[in-house]
Structures are given as structure tokens and as C-alpha cells.
Symmetry: C2
Subunit: 183 residues, 2 copies
Amino acid sequence: MALEHAILVSLAERASTGYDLARRFDKSIGQFWTATHQQVYKVLGRMESDDWVVSRVVPQDGRPDKKVYDLTDTGHAELASWIAEPADFEAARSDLAVKIRGAAYGDTAAVVAEVRRHRARRAERLEYYLTNEKDEFPDPSVLRGHRLNQWLVLRGGITLERGLVDWYDEVAATLTPLDKDEA
Amino acid sequence: MALEHAILVSLAERASTGYDLARRFDKSIGQFWTATHQQVYKVLGRMESDDWVVSRVVPQDGRPDKKVYDLTDTGHAELASWIAEPADFEAARSDLAVKIRGAAYGDTAAVVAEVRRHRARRAERLEYYLTNEKDEFPDPSVLRGHRLNQWLVLRGGITLERGLVDWYDEVAATLTPLDKDEA
DNA sequence: AGTTGCACTGCAACTAGTTGCATAGATAGG
DNA sequence: CCTATCTATGCAACTAGTTGCAGTGCAACT
């Protein structure tokens, strides 16, 4: 389980509410880890009873009270010790890849349409990451510390999205019959 | 849940035992879907009571009896209908990426070592896939049907492994201080 | 005035997948 | 000879994560 640790990293960068963490999992850090808000709240509860984080309630006007979480010393220590551990090789999981492999047992044209849809979505993400890189990290050579690391993870997202776009293109091109001579 | 469907695809290609399916999930199809043998047996049981598959016991000498599973008509229909469904965009999950992002809060050198280890493993997989491609699909232009699809999925694996290797190289190079002037 | 959407938290029930264990004969290595 | 590994199946207990529901109050749109 790395959600705990993904949250620790996120909180080390900035103290936040559960709501906010859940939203950040849709963005930057969400490139390589995601969670629904329910899961985030559940895990935050456990982390608080394990004394990895503390919360304080911040009243707001015009909005519900919020609980801002921050790391404890124990939390910092846990994060450091987790980082030092080896990470296991995780297997990719892709429904779409399984469908591509099985296309011959169903409607190949439908699979190709789906591949194109995914291709579009990935291209969109890629654009978003590239814009992000230009705006937030205009000069990577000066980066240090956690900003450098953030940039590297962004680079990973870019590389992988590009790979997927290329692959989807290859799949769509290969599975689309070229004969347009009926026109 | 796509394990059911990954199994359907696998069985459509060839009738197999649970044991064999589990092993195949370590290879070709396992590029994009994996499962332990326990999970495979559990799911096969459910699939049999749903009448997607049938099994027959094959006695062997010198070895335990085995149960060979094969698709029913219902199973074929289910597979076709699942293939026609849209697939949702799945999020990548990577412990290592989270560690890279959090490296500044722990031992950066340990993270770099870990990145190199993963780099080596990915390079190995990449080699394996490339060899596989050369041996099994020497002339892709003649491929049709499920062999073509298998090749395309293998291409996906190759593209993604290459992307990871490149990214890990970038990370390791960036996080390794270049100053060797103390020698 | 009414609906939709956002900010914010959380519980309950469920599903998918993992880890650990058990069993058992065959073969291979030290 | 003993131990380890392979083939082959499966249960039990657990953990992680998902889906569905619920509530509050403000702001913006219609």
C-alpha cells in the first residue's frame, strides 16, 4: 500500500485537507497515484491514529469547516524510512490492451474506435503536461530539491503519454483496413 | 474487473488449466494484466458457475490430475460483448515514481540506486520482448487475426518498456552529482 | 423560486486482489 | 538419502480500493 506514502509526500510539500489531497491526486501526483476522496479520508483517519499526521479544524465563513492535516515527526520518519525501502516492480494493467489482444473475438472496428478515443485523451494529457512544464519549469537546469523531483516525475508522465499515443497510433493504423478504393 | 475477461481472451486462444493460465499471466498477456494462481482459481470457479467456461478433468500419470477449462457459447458471447464496451482510462500506479517525487524527504542516493535497479529490470524485459518479436513475428506484414493482435500488444510492451528505460536514465543522470573531481 | 454545482466530511457495503497455508506425488541436485 | 523444486489445486483471512449514499450551506445560473 503506497497511498499512505503518497499522502505523506503530498503533505510534506504542503499541509492540506482531505478534500484538497483528493483533488491533487487528479493532477500532478495523480500521474502515478490516484485515490477517491473516500479512500483518502479513510486512510487519513488511520494515519492520524498511527500518529503520522495531526489535524486541526479550521473554521471558514461561507464554507464548511475544514480539517487541515500536517506531518508529525513520526510521519517524517516514516516517510524517510519508506523512501529507503526497495520498491517492487509493478505490473501495468490495461483493459484496453486486453481488448486489443482479444479484438479478433469481437468487433475489431469497435476496438479501433476505442483506441482512437484513448489516443485523443492521452494526447490531451500530454499537451497539458507539456504546457505545465513550460510554465512551471522554464529552466530545469536551476532546479534543486523537491522542485527538481517534481519536474522529473512530470518528465516521466510526458514520456509515458508519448509512448501511449505512439502505440495507439500504431494499433489504429494497423487495424484499419487501408482500402478506400470503394469511394 | 477485467481478470475474467483476460482469462476469456486467454482461453479463446487455447483451452488451459488454471495453473497454466497463471503462468501465462507471467508472460505475453501478463504485459498488461497479471494475477496470482489463487486469484485465477477463484475467478475460474465463478466463471464456471456463471457458465462462461466448462472444465473436464484430465488424469495424467506421474502428475496430479488437471482441470482443463474451455469457453462455452455463453463465454464467447460475453467476451464479444465486453470487447464492444468502452474501456475506461486507467491511471498508472507507480510506487517508484512516488519515491522519486519524495526523494528530497529521504535518502536521494537510495532512490537513485533503486531507479537503476528498476532500469536494469526493464531493460531485461525489453530485450526479452525484442527477442520474442524477432523469433515469433519475423514478418509482421503477413499477420492476420489474433496473431496480428498479439504482435500489436507486444509492440505496446516494447514501447512502454523503452519509455521507462529512457525515463529512469534521465532520472538517474539528473539526480547523480557529476562531480568526480575528488578522485 | 428552483435547480445545479461546489466545498467539505464521512459511513456502509461491496469487490478485487494478496498472503499464507495445505496437500501430494515426481523429479532433480547435492 | 535428503531436500528442494515443479506440477497441480484450493481454502481462509486479510487489505486495498470502489461505489453508493448522506448531509450542509453558499454561489451562480435560469
